[in-house]
Structure formats: structure tokens, C-alpha cells
Symmetry: C2
Subunit: 223 residues, 2 copies
């Protein structure tokens, strides 16, 4: 059985953002059955888990052929073994890799810096000076991204692919802000991706253990 | 002929860091001949170049089969077509992808945030508060990274691979600091990678046009 590690519970700001979502979504699109293995803070710190994931994060992915970490790598691996997430021609596959890395290395660092300030450092003095700089850089990047998407529905080859999974996951991390509304084609793109049945199943499956934990430990709810 | 875009000249802080270096290094390791196509600020802003690279950056890579951007994607593509940069078994290839993404998405954002402060925002008030936070996070990540490397020489499968190209390029962006000296196994790893003839050729080939530009326009030298 294919296995993905995920958290048993996370605070509300992280619910729907933890990176096992990306892998769950890819597996759902590819029609690959899998099970999740829920972990907690004690596992994250354990030498046994660190041997699988050196930073103590999720997800770790295992099937009968490979053992991996890094959601971008796992999604790309799943895509390489499924025609649901990548075309078969080399030029098309290269374009999927290009856009998957663009999401991961050219968009996510800016989104992450902004979200990190809002979620972990709100109210600190330095944020008042830094946040406008980051938002300006990010808006320039989003404008370029929207131009690149143009009239198309999907980033690589205008066919839904693994690149859209990572790009959507990255852009969703702006949902605590109103920024994306200023880039209507990107907002529509994210909505289009979030409307896919595979995304909705993946999101529900990430959230289900959080709801169960909150039902059995009511002090967790709303945190 | 395989082609890589690169800059005709950049200021000294960026010399040896521009991302065509990663692609040049991969091509040198793979023994693939290539030519560079030097561009400048006017190209970066042109619609024709933006159609190839939506953010106006380098490198763009072209061969007779594909056209790509994003150095991580290009290096992975070159690795997939050469046994010099990736093993042939699926488990080994998955591990190369894992560590290449770890460099690109789990190490580079922290390195980039620190280097960005030092190179573009030195002396701004907010940096005094923020830089220690980022350095603390980065040092934790480097400690985990050093533990993961352990006694091995290379990150994936203990064989030099595409992952080491991206990891080294990322860690080299700390060379304006003394931080890496506190992680002696990582410092030795970077030195081992930088000692490879393919790296030295790639670096020399990135720097050659800068030296030529500075010879013909002496006002550029030392900037």
C-alpha cells in the first residue's frame, strides 16, 4: 500500500495548507489508492522519523519502489508514473517540470515570506517596514504569472498537470489576504483547481483527522 | 546546438551566483556541448524574452527537443538524459529528485532571505530585528542537513548527482558570511563540489563575459 505521512492535528491557520495535501491531490488525480500515517510532534523529533525526513516535516511517501520526502519531488514522481498528471512527449514533460519548479522556487519563497510574517510575526515592529517590500515584489511576480497564464486554463501545455497542483497549493497560501483578487485570472485559476473532485477529496482527507481530534479534545477547537 | 541564456554582465555580488551556473555545471558533468546566449536588461524586459521566461530571468535552456526555464527543472531534465547525474534505478532517481527539491524548496528560501537582507537591505532598521530570526532558522536547517549528510560525500545515494549541483549552488550563496564554517561537514561538502573540474569550467565560463565587459568598460569594474 502507498503511504503518506500527515499530521494528526495542526492549528487552524495551517489546516488545508500542510503539504501532504499536495501529495494526496496528486494520488487522487492519478487514481492511486493510498493510506495515510498520522504523526505528531514526538514523531517529528524522533531519530526514526528524522531518518526518513531530515527536517521532521510531512509528507514522507513510500510505495513498493521508492521512499521519498519533499512534496514537489513526490508529486513529480507520481506524475512520471501516471498519464493523468503529465503528457507523454518530452517537450510537454519538460514544460510541466518548468512550471512545477516555477511554483516551488520562483513563487513560493515570496508567498512564504509574506505568509510567515502574517501568521508568525504579526505586530512585530520590523514587519511594518518589511511587509510592504515583500508585497511589492510578490505583486510584480503575480502580475508576470498572470501574463504568462494569459487566456489559458493551465500553466503547462494548457492541460491540467502536476505543475498546477504545486502552483495552486502555493497560491492558496495567500487566502488569508485579499491580494489574489487583484489578479482575477489567477484567482479564477485557483478556483478552477480547487473545484476539481480530486482536490476536494484530498482536502477533506487532510481535514478529517483534525476534526476527529477536535471532537475528542474540545480544547483544540478554534486554536 | 544546446543553448543557455546568461547575463553579459552583473555586479560583483552576483558574479558566480547567477543561475545559468547550475545549468552550465550540469552540462559540463554530462559532457554535453552547449553555447551561451548573453542577454542584458533590455532583453529581460522585452516581450520576446518574456515569452521564453515570464519573469525576465536567466537561464532559458533550449535543445532540439525542449525549451525550458527554471534552473532546477533544467538540471533535472539534463540529469534524466545522462547517467552522469542520476542513477538508473527508480529508487535512486527518486532520492536525487528528493534532495534536489530539498535544496530548492527547503534550504534555498532561508538562504535567499538571509542573503537578500545582506545584499539589498543592509543597514535598514528592520534588518536588525529580522536577521537574527532568519539566521536562527537557517542554522537549525543547516544542522539538520549536516546530520542527514552524516559521513557520506553526496546527498543522494552517496553518489554525485544533480541534487549536489543545486545544493552546492544554494549553500554557496552563504559565502559572504562565515556561517558555513560552523557546519564543517557541509563546508567540506561544498569545497568537494567546487573542486570538481566541471564546476570550475562552468564558473569560469560564467565569469568570462563579465571580465570581458569590465575590460572594455572600466567603469563597471569593482561595482
Amino acid at each position: 500500500m502507498n503511504r503518506v505521512t500527515a499530521f494528526g492535528w495542526v492549528p487552524s491557520f495551517a489546516q488545508g495548507s500542510v503539504r501532504d495535501l499536495r501529495v494526496r491531490w496528486a494520488l487522487e488525480e492519478a487514481g492511486v489508492p493510498y493510506g495515510d500515517h498520522l504523526i505528531g510532534p514526538e514523531d517529528q523529533a524522533s531519530p526514526a522519523y528524522r531518518a526518513l525526513q531530515p527536517f521532521g516535516q510531512v509528507p514522507v511517501y513510500r510505495d513498493d519502489k521508492v521512499q521519498m520526502f519533499e512534496s514537489g519531488a513526490i508529486v513529480l514522481y507520481i506524475a512520471q508514473t501516471s498519464d493523468a498528471l503529465m503528457p507523454t512527449d518530452q517537450a510537454g514533460r519538460a514544460m510541466v517540470m518548468t512550471w512545477l519548479f516555477a511554483a516551488s522556487n520562483s513563487v513560493e519563497p515570496m508567498v512564504g515570506e509574506l505568509a510567515g510574517m502574517d501568521l508568525f510575526h504579526a505586530g512585530e515592529d520590523w514587519v511594518a517596514a518589511r511587509r510592504p517590500q515583500v508585497e511589492t515584489m510578490l505583486r510584480k511576480r503575480l502580475a508576470d504569472l498572470q501574463s504568462a497564464l494569459g487566456e489559458r486554463n493551465w500553466f503547462a501545455n494548457d492541460v491540467f498537470s502536476a505543475a498546477d497542483i504545486i502552483m495552486t497549493a502555493v497560491l492558496r497560501d495567500l487566502r488569508h489576504t485579499a491580494i489574489l483578487a487583484d489578479y482575477p485570472a489567477l484567482a479564477a485559476y485557483v478556483a478552477r483547481c480547487e473545484g476539481r473532485p480530486a482536490f476536494r477529496r484530498a482536502l477533506a482527507d487532510q481535514l478529517a483527522p483534525f476534526r476527529a481530534a477536535e471532537a475528542s479534545q474540545p480544547e483544540l477547537a478554534g486554536r
